[in-house]
């Protein structure tokens, strides 16, 4: 008796037998192949339903040489920016029929290296990677050939497609906004000792340029380095700034978590925001829209970033498939997948209470 067994090992063969057709025909139906008689299709479909047949993806992947699964590697899922980014990436990937698995690196060098070296083997078709520690050099010595798209500002001019926003310009906008508000002692929180951190470097440079353009001084004690970009670091840095003989009247924080932490510190010290100190963040995470006060921030277009990343991966996969079709072509030594693409997504400045405050904090 052919009741559905517990393991439910129903394969094409069983369906074919039940429908009285060949496996090929069942396969055709399953894959929506056009040239099948309506009558045959119906019979096959019925057999599929009766047997609760589900195609074995492993077998299909093996045969097709593709899995339609990609990996998204990022530091931590519970950093709001990455959570929001992940959401967008998963959505964008879904639209082209891909499933996304997540690799959390915790921003650790070893783990980022593992991801780069293709820890996933041939399980994934592509990798979208937002590194923290990696530099262009690490990418150069990568051996894994899985299509790769880099996210964020950590690596420029590396040998891979790259999506980011114009950090220099955005930083200028952020600090420029504070200047226009009439602030004179504008601090920055988020500098990083690590030389590979393009993020900190670029944002700081934009900040200083905006200051210079306004003819404002940039005393070194107003540039606060931090270990990580978490709330606690922002709070600690803000406390340090407030301990200065001449505290700042504005702060540009290199991400929203730092800013949220700074807001917290300011509140603890009884400093009014924005009256005494104005605060600008970066990322436009949900929290900043409901914080007290709400946070003025650089707002990168995350959905656009996600779509671009997925699009890049898709074209890489396409060109890979082409390559393997024209196998013995002469220009085998064309060195890699062509020139890596560098694209910047849009950004805006979301002006909220932390700089133009309605009610004082």
């Amino acid at each position: 008796m052919a009741t559905s067994s517990p393991g439910e090992r129903v394969s094409l063969k069983h369906v074919a037998a039940r429908a009285g057709v060949s496996v090929k025909t069942v396969s055709n139906v399953v894959n929506g192949y056009q040239h099948v008689t309506a009558e045959t299709r119906a019979r096959v479909q019925q057999a599929i339903d009766e047997l609760h047949y589900r195609p074995n993806l492993a077998a299909r992947n093996l045969r097709r040489g593709r899995s339609n699964v990609i990996a998204l590697a990022l530091p931590e899922l519970d950093l709001p920016y990455f959570a929001e980014l992940a959401r967008s990436v998963i959505k964008a990937a879904e639209e082209v029929g891909w499933t996304v698995l997540i690799d959390q690196t915790d921003g650790l060098v070893e783990r980022e290296q593992l991801v780069l070296d293709g820890i996933r083997g041939r399980l994934i078709d592509g990798l979208i990677f937002s590194p923290i520690t990696l530099g262009a050099a690490d990418l150069e010595r990568r051996r894994d050939t899985t299509p790769l798209v880099l996210l964020g500002e950590r690596v420029y001019d590396g040998p891979a497609d790259h999506v980011s926003i114009d950090n220099l310009a955005a930083a200028q906008v952020a600090t420029g906004h504070l200047v226009e508000l009439g602030r004179r002692r504008i601090a920055a929180i988020g500098d990083q000792p690590r030389p590979t951190s393009q993020t900190a470097h670029l944002r700081l440079r934009g900040h200083l340029q905006a200051l210079a353009r306004a003819g404002l001084p940039a005393p070194p004690e107003l540039v606060c380095p931090v270990e990580r970009y978490h709330r606690a670091d922002g709070a600690a840095a803000m406390h340090r700034l407030l301990d200065l003989p001449e505290p700042p009247d504005a702060v540009f924080c290199f991400n929203d978590l730092l800013a949220l932490g700074a807001l917290r510190a300011l509140h603890e010290r009884g400093v009014r925001v924005p009256d005494d100190v104005a605060v600008v963040g970066w990322d436009d995470v949900e929290d900043g829209r409901y914080s007290t006060p709400t946070l003025t921030t650089i707002s990168p277009d995350k959905q656009q970033i996600a779509s671009l990343a997925v699009e890049f991966l898709a074209t890489q996969l396409e060109s890979m498939q082409l390559e393997s079709k024209q196998l013995e072509s002469e220009q085998l030594e064309s060195e890699g997948r062509g020139v890596p693409r560098e694209v910047t997504a849009d950004f805006g400045l979301a002006v909220r209470e932390s700089t133009v405050g309605a009610r004082a904090g």
Copy 2:
């Protein structure tokens, strides 16, 4: 010339040829099988390195009948609670050698149904699912046999393993805390019209019980229904409460986002927290530790929840494997995988400024 081609199609066969051994031996080395001469192992390893061999996971999965990939299905990754939960699940899964792919349902019935019906085919070994809309009935008619563990309070006594915290007890603790603080008009935000929402139901019940125990009235206008559990809903509900002729002096919000929204509303209306109104949340998300004021909240042990879920899945997989070994056993009609397990993880109450405030908000 055997340079590594762009497609890098290196299989066991190639490695075997280069090392002058059989595929079996290479396979043994790759899988860390013990009984291989050190000398042979070294030669094979060298061939692997030279060829940059990476095992084809699709083939391995097909053969083994397991992928070591599981799916985590949840509403939205950018809801902080789920982001934190996801982080923990991925960590716990990693420890047993599993990779996690994410399915976002957006809390939509259709999507949750798809997940339940095994949209992933045989790609995944198991599913950890945190549903919003699904009830026990939906689970009963599930045909897919992929091992499943349910998270959260939505479904009790369903036909699947289930991990949650004791909602009734926790809700009593939350409201009890407000009672002890001497509050007399304690509101609740987060009731849900949806009948399937056990979450709302249980938390409300616990709340009312605590009130009753304290001999306090429970006027219906102090129980606020909301559409979703987002900040905006919390803010709107709080505004409604403040518009009451007799506003509350405390609020128990059924999650932290609602509470954060409520905090925001209170600030906009110039109401002091906790002096005028005390606020308790639920989830203990990171934001609440840095909000102004910081948020008192029910703190579920997320790591424990994650480990338990992974553990349940692991034992389900084990018993499945056993089943298929003793194929023609007589008790084939033993109906499913035994009695579903129901486990509650630990929780605590994190007392912060929103109820015992240092400086007033």
